[in-house]
């Protein structure tokens, strides 16, 4: 991992098929099709090698972006939980009421 520190390896890695990969792959495919149409070639049938390459590059970037995103969210969660643990007086346990206590008694008029 280039941009990620060693501790990020504790996190579960994203699947090969993940949200960012699919999106960036589709964007790459759209780029290749746009390139075809701007050069007056049939959009889907021309330059299949280019479409494949762009989809792959998008997929690759999406996978690493998902890993980076997971790490960033994990650090935020860890810092938040650590703050909650160190300042318990700012997070009092709220008294919970059931619906039976809040709702008025029901008198059916049939």
């Amino acid at each position: 991992m280039g941009l990620l520190p060693d501790e990020a390896k504790v996190l579960p890695p994203p699947g090969i098929v993940n949200r960012n990969s699919v999106w960036f792959g589709l964007c790459g495919w759209a780029t290749a099709m746009l390139h075809n149409s701007l050069n007056r070639r049939p959009a889907l049938k021309a330059g299949v090698h280019r479409q494949a390459l762009f989809i792959t590059v998008g997929w690759f970037i999406g996978y690493h972006l998902t890993k980076y995103e997971n790490y960033k969210y994990a650090t935020l969660d860890r810092d938040m939980n650590e703050y909650i643990r160190l300042h318990p007086n700012e997070f009092p346990e709220k008294e919970r009421k059931t619906f039976a206590e809040i709702v008025e008694p029901f008198h059916p008029i049939r």
Partner: protein, 69 residues
């Protein structure tokens, strides 16, 4: 010899960088540049292999670090 004299040769030798109207041609879709196609497919396969290898390394690292295997 001035540099301009040396650079006069480039249009015949280096057709990719210097395109003038004497050597340029319209790209012909019926004659694909197989080197470029081969490179594109080759780098596609390489990137997929790299992705799968990175994923399996990540899964293995995750399992060893969390003591699952």
């Amino acid at each position: 010899m001035p540099l301009g004299r040396l650079l006069l040769r480039t249009s015949t030798v280096n057709k990719m960088i210097s395109r003038n109207s004497f050597v340029a041609s319209k790209p012909d879709p019926s004659k694909p540049n197989m080197l470029r196609v081969g490179l594109a497919f080759g780098s596609t396969a390489f990137l997929w292999a790299l992705l799968f290898k990175q994923h399996s390394t990540d899964v293995h690292e995750y399992k060893t670090r969390n003591g699952l295997q």
